[in-house]
Structure formats: structure tokens, C-alpha cells
Symmetry: D2
Subunit: 180 residues, 4 copies
């Protein structure tokens, strides 16, 4: 399968988290996470807006600029509205969907694995949808919000695994290496 072959070269990490930043630590962790994901050779998909989404993209974008390699992943935002200018400025491509919160489904479906950072009800819906679609889920358990609350928990008995709790972005990368 050609498609599979190409996909395995460039896997996609979905990063989910709120559009507001609650503490400077969340901002720092999100940026570091983006930086490490892109350095590892993955592409990134997120909801494309501000807050955690923007910090992750910024970290990835800046790191890729520094590394200067053309062989790194792309940064994609799946927007709820119809206007590409809603997007944060660190995306390679903005996908306005016009389907509102239903775009949460696409953010998790487009990912080979999903990482949650902090997060309110929107992030919670994405964690639940990622679980339904049998996506590997990692939660940064030091960031508060639903990521912290659901780390190391199963969302129902349809899967035998759990949402994996990670303490640091580095640990996330180690987990992704094993999972993908």
C-alpha cells in the first residue's frame, strides 16, 4: 500500500487544548510540545485557533525555522468557521470547515495519536471522540483541566487501554515513539 508507506514516513499528531491560556506554565509546555513533535518528524493537526493551539503551532513553527530542514512535517489547523483569518499565524495550511464544533471530530480523526494539554469542555469532547475512534490518547497531567483529570483513566469499557498520563513533553515523545 503506497498510501500507508507515505503515512508512516510522516505521521500526524493531534494536539488539543483550550483557546485561552490559564497559566504561563501551560504556554511554555505547549510550545515545547510543538517544538519536539515537529523535530521528531511528525506533522501537527490542531483546531487552528489561539491559546494552547497557537502555542503548540508557534513552538513547531519556530523550531522548524531554526532547524531549516525541508524534511519536516506540516502544521495544519482545522477551523470551526468559514474564515481562514481566524487562524493563528503559525499554520502551513488553514482548513476553514464551516461546521462549527463538529470540526472537533475531524481534528481527532486526522491524527494518528492525540495529545491533550489542560482543556475545558471543548477539549473534553475531543478526548471523548478520540476515544470513540480508537485513537491513542496522551494527557499532559501537569497542565490541569481535563488532561489532568482524565490521565490514566479509561473513558468506557469499549477499549482495554487508558488515556496515558505524561509528565513532560519529552515523555510524550517517548510515548509516541512506542505507540506509532
Amino acid at each position: 500500500m503506497k498510501a500507508l508507506a507515505r503515512r508512516s514516513l510522516r505521521q500526524v499528531i493531534g494536539v488539543i487544548g483550550g483557546s485561552t491560556i490559564e497559566t504561563p506554565e501551560i504556554s511554555f509546555v505547549a510550545r515545547q510540545l510543538g517544538s519536539l513533535i515537529i523535530e521528531e518528524g511528525y506533522s501537527i493537526v490542531c483546531g487552528g485557533l489561539g491559546g494552547v493551539m497557537e502555542e503548540v503551532c508557534k513552538g513547531a513553527f519556530k523550531r522548524r525555522e531554526k532547524l531549516g530542514s525541508k524534511n519536516l512535517g506540516v502544521i495544519v489547523g482545522i477551523l470551526p468557521g468559514t474564515d481562514p483569518n481566524e487562524a493563528n499565524p503559525y499554520l502551513d495550511i488553514a482548513i476553514p470547515t464551516g461546521i462549527g464544533q463538529a470540526r472537533n471530530v475531524i481534528v481527532v480523526l486526522a491524527a494518528d495519536a492525540v495529545v491533550a494539554v489542560n482543556g475545558g469542555s471543548g477539549t473534553l469532547s475531543e478526548m471523548a471522540l478520540g476515544w470513540q475512534f480508537h485513537k491513542p490518547l496522551i494527557a499532559l497531567k501537569t497542565t490541569g483541566g481535563w488532561a489532568e483529570q482524565l490521565a490514566n483513566q479509561a473513558l468506557d469499557n469499549k477499549r482495554s487501554d487508558s488515556i496515558i498520563g505524561a509528565n513532560t513533553p519529552k515523555e510524550v515523545i517517548q510515548l509516541l515513539r512506542k505507540l506509532l
Copy 2:
């Protein structure tokens, strides 16, 4: 506003819950809930499939048959797939959407208030989406699952209220009378 006037005559209750029934009690409670909602004059919207969804519709359908009145609400199922024959047999109208789990968004948007019964990850995503859309949420806290776990909790700080826990279908109706 004519539209508003008509809507206030026939409000819509979204009922969310899993497609499998875990205990006979859940089945009984779901049927009773459907029966009381329709008797109260509301319409019902749900995901249209089996399990809790079917029991709620069955309770409503049978009760309406017994009451024999033409002035009662309609029973609507918002299906994930494209085939209306996926629907449980107690709907007045089946809406195949072809948008998969993204239809969860529509189930909660179509409702004036949402009631959760038991529920796994699919129900959890609907509770989270209902919260985001500022829908009043009631959880039957004796039915287990995410309904029980999230009763009396706030999903984030964007709303000042909580998911309201209810012990019985009768209590749900009393809450709906106050909320709507």
C-alpha cells in the same frame, strides 16, 4: 416572533445515552423518562439507534399511543449513517446524516435541554458539546456511567452553573419545568 411562539409550545428534550443497555434498571428508567417527557408535551430528539436511545423512544411512543392525543410531541432520531433502517422502530422521523459521530453535535443543538442516562465516551462527548453550546444539562445520577460521574459538576469555568443531578425521571420533569 412567530418562530419563538411555536417553539415554546413544543420544546425539544435531547436524551443521550449509550447504544447498549448495561442493567435492566437503566432500561426501565430510560423508558419511564421517554414516557414522562412525551406526556409533558415535549418533543424528543436522540441519536436514533438502539440501547438507551431505543428505550427512551419506546417509552414515549407507547405512552403517546395510550394517551391517544394528537397534541403531543414528535420523536426524532439523528442517525450517524446514511441508512434510515439503522433507526430504532419508535421514531416519527429518522434523519440519516452521513456525518458519523459529528451528528452528536446536532443531537444537542436540536435540544432545548439535554438529559443524560448512563453513557460511555459517546455520551461524554455529547455532554461536553451540550455544555459548550450552553444547553441546560441534567444527569440521571442513579444510572452509572458518565451521567453519574458528572452529576452536579461544572465541565469548565465558562458557565457558572453545573450539570444538574436528578434521582428519578419524575425529578427530571420537575427540573425541566423550571428550566424551560
Copy 3:
């Protein structure tokens, strides 16, 4: 199959057409169409807004009121936005979807057959989608717009039939009796 059995008792006609009325004749034809569809025992699904959609619903609503029977179909609007108050006032149930024009897909999927009245680009997209989903399509060829332009045409060679042209709402009903 219980579901099938019930569906055959109450089939759903999708009516598509623009949100503006170009001539008084279109308004008259749309109202008559709604009236005849509901009298025939079908349910109606449409995009839920004004213009042709509202006239069809109004015709159905008024006719049902006059007939006074409780054994008639329901009138359903699938709205693009999140606000039920966008709906025209002749619906039994308004389904706000929040998915914008993607709701066009649902309008045709929810129908057992689709009837086009006049119509611009939105109606054209629904005719094309209805064709893709192998829905029987009827176009009122005296109403102008895309209904007139595509009457008696095939949209591609994936189906061996055509969009059936009809001259009057009465002829539409005769066609529906044969098709469903």
C-alpha cells in the same frame, strides 16, 4: 424489519428551493406542493428557512390543520445555524445543525425522494448531492431556476435514470406514488 415497516407508513419527501421567492407563481406552487404532500400522508423535510422552504411548510401546516387528522406526517426543518429561531414558523421540529451549508447533505439524506422548486446554487448543490445518494429526484419544470434547467436530465452516468420533470404539484404526487 420493524424500522422498515414503520418507514413505509410515513415516508419523507425532501423539498428543496431557494430562500427568496422570485415570482408569486413560485409561492403558489410551493404552498400547493406542501399541501398535497402532507395530505398524501408523507412527512416533509426541508432546509427550514424562508422563501420556498417556508411556503412549502406553510401549505402543509395549513392543510393539516384543516384536515384535523392526527395521522398525518410531520414537518421538519434542518437549519444551517445553531439558532432554532432562524426557522420558519410552520415546522413541527427545527433541527439547528451548526454545520452551515453542509446541512444540505442531511436534507437530501433524510428524504426518500427529493422535489426541487426553482432554486439557485444552494438548490443545485442539493440536487447534485441527492443524485450522488441515489435519491429519486423530481423537478418542477415550470418554476424556473435549476429545477427547470435540469428537469429530464441525468447529472452523470453513474445512474441510468434522470431527474424527472413534473408540470404541477399534482403530477409530483402521482410520480411519488409510483416511485416510493
Copy 4:
């Protein structure tokens, strides 16, 4: 506006067309179109499957490989299903949406301008939706299908322009330079 600034550096061309290739000429034209679009510095979005979609992506992919520059656009496929392996092998990123034909809306929304090649009912729905969203539309009028039939036509009177007919991929690029 940072977002605008970045977007203007890398605009997105949506290419729409069927999943089957009717003649070798269509295949050739589609590949050439992809090649020229990517060379011009645009990103490409399409439905991500086979046929015209695959030929466009292949042309772009091969051309980018030859040019060897890291400063070229990305190739994105918006898939109808949930499985990334449905995608053709020339995408940088596959976005499985799970929303079926409703993804047609996203293909046109994600584009700054849309180019149609040949095409049946699926492509027709995308042309109609692109028109509704006020996207500039170009049709390769030598490729048959709906692209040929609707070249130089307006789909309704809500816009004062027309779908612009082009004879060759080169002419498409000249038009895009003017339009964007």
C-alpha cells in the same frame, strides 16, 4: 494581521474533479495543472481520493520533487471517510473527516480559488457550494463533464461574475495570478 500575511504567501487552490478518469487527456491535463499550481507557489487542497484528484496531486508531487525547493506549497486531501489509507499516495497530509459527502463543503471552503476538471455530480455539488461561498471558480472547459457545461455561466444571480472558462492549465495559472 499576521494570519493574512502568511496566507498571502501561500494561497490555496482547490482542485475538484471525479474519482474516475474518463480519457487519457483528462489525466494529462490534471497532472499538468497540479504541476503548474505547485510551481507557482500555491498549496493544493482536494478530495484526496483517486482519479482527477490523484492525477493533480501526482503532478504537484513529482514537480516539487524535481524542483527540490523547500519553499513550495503543501498538498492536502480532505477525505470523506475515517480511514487515511483511502487517500492517494501523493498527499503531504490526509484529513479523514468521517462526514462523507459533507466534506465537499470543506474542500471549497479551504480554497482561495477553485478549479474544476471534468466532473460528475460530486464535482457539480462542489461548484455549486463554491459559488455559494463566493469563491472564484475556474472551469477547464476542454475536459468535458460539468466543468465544460458550466464554463462561462453564472449559477444564480447572487453573484455578478461567472465561472471562468479556461482552455489550458497555463491559462488557469494566468487567471489565478489575476484573481488572487
